[in-house]
Symmetry: C2
Subunit: 200 residues, 2 copies
């Protein structure tokens, strides 16, 4: 019995995913046509449609893998961390490190290159993580919880994007520190401590 997928099929799928990745990095998702993809992957047109219903389907299928990949990265990281129960940003450290390891992949996803679908998928995945971290550490609902979640997710994506685009040499922990500082304590710590200038 062939429970495993046919080698050829697996090969084709891999080629398509790889092509998508390459092309997204080069031109961005929206500007991509199925034609481009099968061209890059060197795969027949009908073959493509035998596997996926379109480029969005191909893209989405990639996120299934990412989801599991991340779920594991999170739990392995959580094993080594101690203060995870009081940390409303418990996900961040592992995520920044994961992003550093798979920089190319992340580069294709953030900064608009991934299009709306990618943006949504990522936000969903991250929202789930953040929601969990928050549930055990946030005890004040002055500000609605889903708003806080979105706030954190956006801040994280911003950090990621800024990191890759402007200071790719920084280490994950450095970016993580900035991210945590801003999200946990906001701008106040950065404002003039020497505010004794007794404004006019």
């Amino acid at each position: 019995m062939s429970r495993e997928i046919d080698r050829r099929a697996a090969r084709t799928r891999k080629a398509l995913h790889q092509a998508l990745l390459t092309l997204m990095l080069r031109k961005g998702y929206e500007a991509l046509s199925v034609q481009d993809i099968i061209d890059e992957a060197d795969v027949g047109r009908s073959t493509f449609y035998a596997h996926y219903t379109g480029k969005e389907d191909l893209l989405r299928s990639g996120f299934q893998m990412l989801r599991e990949e991340l779920k594991e990265a999170q739990s392995t990281a959580r094993a080594g961390a101690k203060a995870s129960h009081d940390d409303p940003l418990g996900f961040s450290t592992a995520m920044f490190e994961h992003a550093a390891r798979y920089a190319d992949h992340y580069r294709t996803m953030i900064g608009g290159r991934g299009g709306a679908v990618t943006e949504n998928e990522i936000r969903l995945i991250l929202s789930e993580m953040v929601r969990q971290d928050l549930s055990s550490s946030l005890h004040d609902d002055t500000i609605p919880r889903d708003f806080v979640v979105q706030f954190i997710v956006s801040a994280f994506l911003t950090a990621l994007n800024w990191w890759f685009e402007r200071k790719p040499k920084l280490s994950p922990s450095q970016v993580d520190a900035m991210f945590r500082s801003l999200v946990l304590d906001g701008l106040s710590p950065l404002m003039g401590d020497e505010s004794r200038s007794s404004a006019d």
Copy 2:
């Protein structure tokens, strides 16, 4: 003298902008074709291309108007505000009010409906505002300035989006308060105040 633009041209342009707005709200920018636009605007195909090079051109031209619109809204607001020089988020109050007044316009721009172009344009406009506010109130560069700017812009867009999508009944000042709280002081104020458990 014909310094003014021909009535017909103005009429056409207005119709196209209106059509774009309507359709973006209905289907989103990316899913839109030039065909749809000229169809909705009841304008000939060649006429469209006589004015714009494509749908992106049309979209961008709309932001020129928005830019000036906002520049004015800001300065009028700044006239009535007193503590603008110490406020790193001086732009926000006026912006939330402006957004409330032109809810339909904003709805087409945020939440992905506007596509990548819109996202970028908005971020550019907001970044400029934030940068100005920040220049006179931020005196600590522990965290790079452009990172802080992006952080604020993202937080603002998140607030805007959450507002429209989840709690449209809230007043601008209520959302503004939440936004400021999160950005200025971060999550700490929301965490267990009963944290006097003298963490071992």
